[in-house]
Amino acid sequence: MSKIGHPFVLNYAIIYLITNYGSDFLNADREYNEIVLPKNINTDITSIDYIQGIFNNIKENTILDFSKIKFIDGELTPFLGINIRNLQNLGINFKIRKNEQSDVSHFLTKNGFFYKILKSSKVWDYFNNAIQYNEINCRNQNEINDYISNVVFEQIKDKSNKSNDFMSGFSNAIFELADNVKTHSESNYITMCGQFYPKKKLLTFSLGDNGITIPRVVMTKINDFSFDSDSDAIQWSTLKGNTTKKKYKAGGLGLYVILKSIMENNGSITIVSNNGYWKRESSGEEIKHEMKNSFPGTLVIFQMDTSITNNINVFDDGEYELKF
């Protein structure tokens, strides 16, 4: 018997592989191409554009190798999820390779991403500051509300870290974005995930969809304007009163209200849609880029201070006049 065929050596080899790469390697198939994801996955334009290029070049069944990732922004998992879902809808199958020992693998397992998107390693408890990855029908108000109340707010355990104004502002932002998806992108699902940083009292969160992109909606419906770039079209959609709705319908405030609320509370917002990448900091600094690789949907990433308390006043009759 050769040394490699010895039962002890084989058992040891299998235990080693399961320990280091997870059981999913057992399903690895020679018909699958393999793609190694980069060490660092973050919300910078360079990182997003690079990863988008990887996904846009996938044409066949693929093993996605997560084992080399050393850092991932938690709020970027919807970006990965939407890309994977789109390709799955085209009939492409995915398997994963992961390093069970790594923090990133631990994070993506415990926030539900691996299970939800790839049906791998179901673990439903939470890990540190990870907020559960979820895909929800954008018309299902109760399910969205349950996610906000029982997952996002529950994760911010210390009540001193979450003000009523933050909870109200966050809920508003999510429902405004969900309505935008329903009304404009014609997608049925929204994908959400985030991360809470207790010391900074900061929530980073993203909501995305794989429907018609903002630049396409704007450029198709607004014939009066021509935009030089997709990021210009995204910027236009965030301005007060701008809407693609017919002129005899009220509209044009959803993104503006979200933007205003986030800017007033030292946050930031990034919108990725088609080839456009647009970011606004509370300082007023604005970044606009055209990506080489188009994202097949819209992703809104934002940061909010969870301790804000600036709009708490409740009014009695006569104190505030609303006139038509």
Binding site: D179, V257, V314
Partner: protein, 114 residues
């Protein structure tokens, strides 16, 4: 003049005022009462989330049905029990719709599209 009080919470049967479908229920009642010359006071207290999608339909689209004076004569939006951020949002929707819609322009738009 006949007076009616309505609570948005009871009309939409929810603490979430987030969709234009829900807003449409409020709009229909208010527009109908204006046409019947009934004064309505509407209350938005006890609603946790008010989005612009909801308010655009419930309140904003009223500008397409009557002039400002008529709307002020027959509709009062009570600020009672509402936070400043929500009131600011209602005010923003009203301001935006006022600039965007007038009955005359809307009639012309609808007529032209027909």
């Amino acid at each position: 003049m006949e007076n009616k009080n309505i609570k948005a919470r009871n009309i939409i049967q929810s603490k979430l005022g987030v969709s234009s479908d829900q807003g449409q229920k409020i709009f229909k009642i208010l527009a109908s009462n204006v046409s019947k010359k009934i004064h309505t006071t509407i209350y938005f207290d006890d609603i946790d989330v008010l989005t612009t999608a909801f308010l655009n339909t419930a309140i904003g689209n009223l500008y397409a049905t009557a002039g400002n004076d008529t709307l002020n004569q027959y509709i009062t939006i009570s600020p009672m029990g509402i936070s400043k951020s929500k009131l600011d949002k209602i005010k923003l929707v009203m301001e935006n719709s006022r600039n965007r819609l007038t009955k005359e322009e809307t009639d012309k738009e609808i007529f032209d599209n027909d």
